[in-house]
Each structure stands twice: as structure tokens, then as C-alpha cells.
Amino acid sequence: MSKRYIGQRIKRNEDPALLTGQALFTDDVHLPGMLHVAFVRSDYAHGRIRSIDASYAREMPGVVAVYTAADLGAYWRPGPPLVSPPPVKGAIFNARTQVPLAKDKVRHVGEAIVMIVAESRYIAEDAVEQVFVDIEALPAVVDLEKALAPDAILIHEDLDSNLAAYIFQQKGDYESARAQADVVIKRRLYYDHGIAAAMENRGIVATWDAKTQRLTMWDTTQAPVVIRNGMAAMLGLSESQVRVIAPFIGGGFGPKIMMFYPEEVLLPWASMQLQRPIKWIEDRRENFFATTHERDQIHWAEIALTKEGRVLGFKDEFIHDTGAYDPYGLTVPINSQCTLLGCYDVPNYASEFKVVFTNKTLVTPYRGAGRQHGVFVMERMLDIAARQLGIDRAEIRRRNFIPPDKFPYNNELIYQDFVPLVYDSGNYEPALDKALEMIGYEQFISEEQPRLRAEGRHVGIGVVTYVEGTGIGPYEGARVQVESTGKVNVSTGIGTQGQGHFTSFAQVVADQLGVSPRDVHLVTGDTDQFHWGTGTFASRGAVVAGNAINAAAAAVRRKILAMASRELEAPEEDLELVDGVVRDKKNPEFAIALKDLAAKANPLRGAVRPGTEPGLEATDYFGPERGVTANGVHAMILEVDPETAMIKILKYVAVHDCGTVLNPLIVDGQVQGGIAQGIGNAFYEKIVYDDNGQLLTASFMDYLLPTSMEVPSLDIGHETTPSPLNPLGTKGTGEAGAIPVGPLFAQAVEDALAEYDLEVLEIPLSPNRLFELLQSKNKDA
């Protein structure tokens, strides 16, 4: 295989449709006779449903059906647990999954109680106003630490407490490391990650066709195959009777893989009941409380070091908020636990966490998926240690890096893919050196910063590192076919939400088959086209689906060579695939076009040799033995105005290593977009609940996404350490940019405000919060 297209900055195949408004998103599906849905949702965070009076709504003109939990009959059941807990000895896990419509209790604001089906969305929303739900309010569990107090009110009354899970993992022996340490530092740290806020809200269109006995469902899901299989099981249909299409999706970032959302379960069922197509499109307000969040953890961390700054051991205890239910298992806190050690060779680690139920929206992975929390804790503790020991911040990191000759590096912890976390490969120092050079670290510290400080300006620099476990299994698959038109069809089971799959996967196929990427047509997320796979998450598309597509394309290539060898009467090793033809390298005039070969591979009459498979087509799969670990370094120069506590980013540098890059243009875009979300998380975005569990930030006027004014121009550098665990050598990069921005802000703000001697132990900051921190220092002084 040549590498003519892999690694090229090729503009995307999918863009012309998106740029002209032709690309199909879920809300663009319009079917004759389609009904529309709106939901009555809980105004209370915690309460007992006394009664529901929907009699007036049922009589309204244009209202077709009104469903409460009681109306669902046997179809009402809690959702299936999506991710089982990892096999860690001594683990506790209490699975309590979300319900389609609240029956006896409501457990968070926005929980669906009644489904209204009407001739238009306007009528459905009118009817929502006419349903009267009588709820006996109960005290809300909002605060993480109070959730486990002995007198805390129980969210799930069949449990003894609000504890959802407990895990302890360790490597080495922390206590003996502590005993040998010159310095031991302890801190309480708080990290709150926000919400994905994809620009497209969720949506579902479902239609049951009685004549063909098939259900078709357009769904803004990241995992169409899993939805198909689950819906078939729930509805008592065969899997082949259900087609799920994840069309163009306006951003995913994690929450669109929560399964099953109540709306996903209800719409197809209602379409079968009513024998009509049915649509629900989430509005932005619903998105804030009915689409899953990622939120906060409180950590109590302890680091033990030698006086030279070598980390001997780390101990961490934390509490994690899972919200009202925990269908997504322990993915988020396990990621925090396993990512904390980062790029560092730490021989002794002890970490335990408790997951608590609260009366808030469910927590499931959002870009970074808990890794941010762990990285924040380690990076902050290293900064504090560096300051205490008088060691440069970059230097203390360098001293603790896992050296390149120690890979594969076993961290001995069970990771989210249920196998021990082993870093496959990495080379961390060159990435650090490159970032320091790009940001001008030495020069800034020795010349620029003193000069600017002398002018009265508050400028600071930060440098942080991270790893990201990516590309986890179990598997993905793909089918590749050369058509008799010469075009290549590829189908795979994952969904796509803007990652450029139509292009980067086309590049892989183009290199295998010697065609142009423009002639490769990819279908993702249509279960009638390909019905094996698990979904787009954990930065795994390019790694797992990419390598499956590569394997299927390689199998087609072998078929092409075998057949062309017979046709051209030349040995296979003399043949090459170039520009849509197979030809003899030595005598290029001996050639046959792929389209002619494809036609010959599908004869309409005559006989074939026994055992012949028709067409130039192959299906193959890729399942890695474990995930691959990407890494990177971010550095930033930031100015703070101590009067207003407003910040300005003067320079931002990101160096990352995701192994072999399929398309640098797309990878740059992923990193830039991730950093923008990281900046939002670090300084602008915050989900705020009051003591009653009311969500106070349920609009874009209250929850501040960064705009073009807040996200600066970014300098991006690449390092390439190919993964040995897959043939393409790729590592995931979807989440990377978002991961280390919080601790980077904290460090740079501290540095900018060095005279105040601040210690920033929390994210997000905001101008308000930073102002408060400065005020508290003023008071101390």
C-alpha cells in the first residue's frame, strides 16, 4: 500500500452538502402525516407524584394521545444498564437506571412525566401547559459531601444510602513511599466539568410501517447499531425489522451516546401504537436538563516526593456526582482515577472514589470524560510541589516523565475497557521541548515577564502535560466494495458528528485501492448498510473503525490483485493499483480498470469457479487488545487585570502526539475545537444548581459558551509516535485538546498574580470567582 493520501491535508468530502444546506439532519426529516411530541417535565428536583390530571389536555383539538407512566403498561421499565462496572476487587456498584416516564417519584428537574402527541409541536406545547401534576416536594440532595451524611434523604429508597459506587485501586505501596519521602503535600481540589452543548439538540423521528412490518428511526445518536438492537428487544421485533439512521449530527461530544434516553424508547413505541410517523426535537432548555451532563468531583490528594522533585507516590480520594441515575456505569470516575498519573512514572499510587446519587441531571461522559479531573489534580499538585521545592515547573515534569525505553508501560490499574491500563507507546520529552520552544518559555521567564511586570502588568505562563487513553475496543467493522462504476462504497457502523470520517476514512481506502478519495463514498450510521459496531466515543473512530476499514480495503486489494493477475497473466507482485487501474509495473500498458474488473467479478451468465465470491467486496473487523495512549503538552501566556479579574490569552501553544495522522487538517480542527471547549470549561461555563436542585443556568444567556472573542489563535505542533497496536499506527485525538486546559489556566493565573500568592485549587474560574479569590487574599494581607 502506498501512502499517497494518508497524512495529506485534504479538504473534506462531506462539506459541499453541509455548506449548501443540503445535508440531512434529524429535524430535516419530514414524513406525511407526521405527529409531534412535547413532554411535561418535572419542576421539582425531588418529590413524590401524588396525581396527574391530563384530562383537559386529552380533549384539546389536535392532541392525538397523552401518555403517563401508567399508560405505558408493560412497556414501562427502567432502562438497561449501558456499561457494567469494571472487574475491580471489592467494588460496589448500585445500578439504578433512568425510567421512560417518572412513575412514583421525580429525581431531577426536567425528568419527563407525561408525553403529549399532537398534530403540531405548537399544539403539543399548548397541551403541556394544561397537564396538572401534583408533586409532594422532598428535600433535594445537591451537595456532594452532604449526599452521604447519615441523615441525608434517600433518592433511591430501596438503597441504604445515596452511595452509587465505590472503587479502590492501587499499585505499589503508597504508605511505604510516603515514609521515605522528603516532602508530603496535601490539598483539597475541586473540578467541575460542564455540559457538551452541541449546537444541535437531540431529536428522534420514528415511523412504523405496518405494510412492511418495519420500524425506521432517525436518531441523533453516536451509536446507531446499539440503538437498533436495543429497540428491537424492547419492542419485541427482530433486529432486521428495525432500521436506525444516524444522519448528519450537529455535534456529539459524548452525551449523544447515552442509551437509552427516555425519548428514544418512547417515540418508536408511540409510532407503533398510533400507526403514524412521529417526531420529537429537543429544545435548548430541555437540552440543559434532559441531556446528560458531566459535573464535579472533590478530591483529597496527597503527593510524596524526594527533595529533587521525584514523585515517590500519590494518594487520592474523591467523590463523584453521577446525578439521579447511573446507567453509564463508572466510565467517568474510572477515567479520572486512571488518567491522574498522566505522563509520569509514579511507582506507588492509592486511589479510592465514591460515586453519589444527587437530585441532578445524569452524568455521563462528555469530551474528556473524567480525564480532565484527574489531570487537574496531578498537574496542580506538581505545581505546588515545584513551588515548595524551588524547582522549575517544566523541570519537575521532565524529571518524572516515563522514559521512552519503559514502554509498554503498565500502570497496573483496571481501565474503562476492563483491562489493565498499559500505555502502548510514547515519547514525552520531545513534546515538552517543542512546546517550550514554541511558547518561548525561557525567554519569557528571563526577559519578557520581568519587563512587563516592571510596567505593572500581570502576565503569567503555564505549561502542563496530559495523556489520553483512546481507541478502546471492543471492535468496529466495515464493508468495502468496488462498484462496476469504479466508485468505492464503504459502510461502517459508527455514527459521525463532524469528525471528518467521510474524508479520513476515504483516504485510507484510497491508499489501499489506488483511487482518489473523492471516488470513495462512505456511509456511516445506517444499520441497513452495516449492522455491527458499538459507536463513536472514547476517541476511537480513527483507531478502531479506521483500522477496520483499512483491513476490509486490504482484503479487497488482495481480491483485486488475484483477479487481475489472472486477467493480465502477470504475477501479483508485478502489479500495482494506480489511478483506478491495476497495471503491470514494468509494462504499464498491460492494465485493467477497477470498474471492468468489478464487472467481471459479478458475471450475469455462465459459470464461476466453485467457491467464488461475487464482486470486489470484503467485510472485516478490528478489535484491539487494549486502548492506545496519546499525549500532549499545552502552554499559555495569559494576562490578568486584577481590578476586574478579567483575563486575556496572549499566546497559546499545543503540541500533541496521536501517532500516525490520517489528515492533519482534520486533526488540527479537532485539537482547536477541544481547546475552545477547555477554555469554556476553565473560565466561562458553569452549571449552577441552587439548594433546591433548581438549574439556574438553563440558557445560553446564563451558560456562557466561548465565542470567537474568547478563543485566541492557537499554535499547534505535532509529534508522531505511531502506536504498535494497530496497522495504521493511529491514536485517538477527539478529546485531547479539551483535557489539560483547566490546570493550565490555574497555573498561568497564579503566575500572573504571583504577588498575591494565590493557590488556585478549583476549576472553573470566572471573573467573579477570581475576583473573590483575590479579595480573600486582600483580606488576609
Binding site: 459541499p16 444546506g21 419530514h30 452543548a197 449546537m199 444541535e200 470567537s708
Partner: protein, 162 residues
């Protein structure tokens, strides 16, 4: 509620006569009555800018207007920028080349915001571009490639007009 009003609106050069409820949002009218689904709705409260259209030549948010307010006015949506995906205009071409979009959901709003901006300011600075798009939210790109795309579009437009 049941009052129905007749309106005539010109969209992308085509005159549409329809009867609508006064409460029907202009964004819903464009998407669901006319079937021009390229205009996207991201927040329904006028912050995200995804639903931006040209209303008598000015960029406005169609989720903040009623369809009846468009009576006797002229609208251009993203579908009106170019005849088909094979023939993009300079701004669309520049977004394609500079990777100015990822999921593409917010993109029509950016394009419609930028059309009048570039007409008024054919040679904008980075700062002016960032300010021009600061009312449009994009969750995927981090904006940098969008800024690149606008600069490229300005250059392309200058080239074709000279």
C-alpha cells in the same frame, strides 16, 4: 390561536403565498412550511445565531421573528447562496478549503452573517472578523479555521472583482 393570516414572502427569489398562524416562528416557517431545512435552529432564544438569514439584505435571527412579520419582505437562506453543491460561492469555497466547519450545523448561520459583513468590509482584519462572528456560536471548530476561511474568502472575492 386559530386566527390565520395570509402572507407573501420572497425567499431566494421565489414568491411564496401561505396562510399561517400569527404565532408561527419565521424559522419554523422557513424550515417546515417551505421545506428549506438548511436554516438550522440551535437555541430558539436568539443567542447561537444558527438560524441567521438575510432579511431585506440584513443578517437577522429567524427564531426571533414571526412569519407574519416577513410579509412582503425578501429573505435569502443558505440554499440561496449557490445553485447546488457543485457550484459553491467564494465564501462557501473558502469555508471548504480552510476547514471552517466540522459538524456543519452552525455553518449556515455563519455564512449568512458573513455575507453582508464581507460586502460592507471586503478587507477585514482578524479582529474585525472575530467581532463580526462573535454573535454566532460554534462548538466544534474553536473559530480559528472560520477566521482563516473569512480571510480566504475576502482574498478570493478581491481576486474575482479585480
Amino acid at each position: 390561536m386559530n386566527q390565520i393570516m395570509k402572507i407573501s414572502v420572497t425567499v431566494n427569489g421565489v414568491l411564496y403565498e401561505r396562510s399561517v398562524e400569527p404565532r408561527l416562528l419565521l424559522s419554523d416557517f422557513i424550515r417546515h412550511e417551505l421545506g428549506l431545512t438548511g436554516t438550522h435552529v440551535g437555541c430558539e432564544h436568539g443567542v447561537c445565531g444558527a438560524c441567521t438569514i438575510l432579511f431585506d439584505g440584513a443578517a437577522v435571527r429567524s427564531c426571533l421573528m414571526f412569519a407574519v412579520q416577513a410579509d412582503a419582505h425578501e429573505i435569502v437562506t443558505v440554499e440561496g447562496l449557490s445553485p447546488d453543491p457543485q457550484h459553491l460561492d467564494a465564501l462557501q469555497e473558502a469555508f471548504w478549503e480552510a476547514h471552517g466547519l466540522q459538524c456543519g450545523f452552525c455553518t449556515p448561520g455563519f455564512l449568512m452573517t458573513l455575507k453582508p459583513f464581507l460586502a460592507q468590509n471586503p478587507d477585514p482584519s482578524d479582529e474585525e472578523i472575530r467581532e463580526a462572528i462573535s454573535g454566532n456560536l460554534c462548538r466544534c471548530t474553536g473559530y480559528e479555521h472560520i477566521v482563516d476561511a473569512v480571510k480566504l474568502a475576502a482574498a478570493k472575492m478581491k481576486e474575482s472583482s479585480s
